[in-house]
Subunit: 231 residues, 2 copies
């Protein structure tokens, strides 16, 4: 098997999903730690790996790939991972594809959009954009509601009422974890009404630990340090 290199910034939610997936499944890889704040993704060297200049990306021998969902599917098919991650049943697989497609323009736009608007943009000196933030929050709340009513119905453990997690669970939960960097008040306002979402996040965490916490360690440290600065 060709050697696998993962170009990832653990501050990035799709980067974390891929790292956790590989660790949980015993897939050997070399992690190239990219720091987006230092512009590691903007070098000519990295552009040869991922012309989109984004993380994550992988190199598997001489084969390179970007887009985290495409990477998760590729790795699930290449390596001998448990079937629940990317089920072979056509209809289950189709429903998971639909959730991952939906994610791009719903949960991700809401969550990443809110953080970019309220945390990242001000640090880059951009003017406040309360309408933009409100629009992202509406999208995020609507996404939580969709996940609960459609894919975590009844007492579902994981998406589509499955009893083990899939790559879609991992991708969506890593996105939701990014909300940790918001203030407690903001995060509670958004997520507190969604009890099924909270339980589901815990379940994905438990199903993938100790790797989930290991890969999220950097995020936890950033959160702790910013709370200390606030206090």
């Amino acid at each position: 098997m060709a050697s696998l290199t993962i170009f990832a910034d653990r501050k990035s939610q799709p980067s974390r999903a891929i790292l956790i997936f590989c660790k949980v499944n015993g897939i050997e890889f070399e992690e190239v730690k990219m720091d987006l704040f230092k512009g590691d993704h903007l070098t000519a060297e990295y552009e040869a790996i991922n012309p989109m200049k984004k993380v994550p990306a992988i190199a598997h021998g001489d084969f390179t790939l970007f887009e985290s969902h495409a990477i998760l599917i590729y790795l699930a098919c290449c390596y001998n991972v448990s079937e629940h991650w990317y089920p072979t049943d056509l209809r289950t697989r189709a429903k998971l594809h639909a959730i991952m497609d939906w994610h791009h323009t719903n949960l991700r736009q809401g969550a990443a959009g809110y953080i970019n608007t309220t945390v990242v943009a001000p640090k880059l000196g951009k003017p406040p954009n309360p309408e933009g933030a409100a629009e992202c929050e509406r999208k995020l709340i609507a996404s939580f509601s969709t996940i609960e009513t459609m894919w975590l119905k009844n007492d579902a453990s994981f998406l589509l009422a499955r009893d083990q997690p899939s790559i879609a669970d991992l991708s969506l939960v890593c996105e939701i974890m990014q909300l940790e960097i918001l203030s407690m008040e903001e995060r509670n306002r958004m997520i507190r009404p969604y009890k099924k979402i909270q339980k589901w996040v815990e379940r994905v965490k438990n199903a993938t630990n100790p790797y989930f916490d290991e890969i999220h360690q950097l995020l936890y440290e950033i959160v702790a340090s910013s709370k200390q600065q606030e206090a």
Copy 2:
């Protein structure tokens, strides 16, 4: 085989991609014509098929599915379609997944976003939004540039230098066709510099005709009628 129903509005680019795909591949289906302008997607009856209240969606026996890329993949796997539409080679398939993931937040946001901002929003009585339109146009132009430099390199016939079209070619080209409803001046400004894109659109059209033109007939008629009104 269970019977297939496609809920589609031919004014919608992902609806057209699915209809063309089925016709080209001799997949039998019943088309339920939805009119988004009349709110056909907002009925309780349709919500049972697609709770997202969007088109397209399919019902295959008692199995329902939304998100056009997930539908195209599902149909390609269920029916005996030519392998070039959704190649079995893992790496080729992964690259096509990446293009389709990329599409959601790039070409689609640019093209559909521009049309929504400049054509749909004014019809709904919303105020002009020149900054929004300019942002969408930037995204669209950047997407054209990415497609040409990454996936239509050299004298490529289809995406990834393949000699036959894939579901990604069909999805992206149907998106680009939507620009027909803009004024000639606007469309030329955007697409004229991109000769490879123009040739590729023609190739996908030729590879899927007479069905491509048949399914686009409604769009052509809307364009002709609005040109007549202008004149």
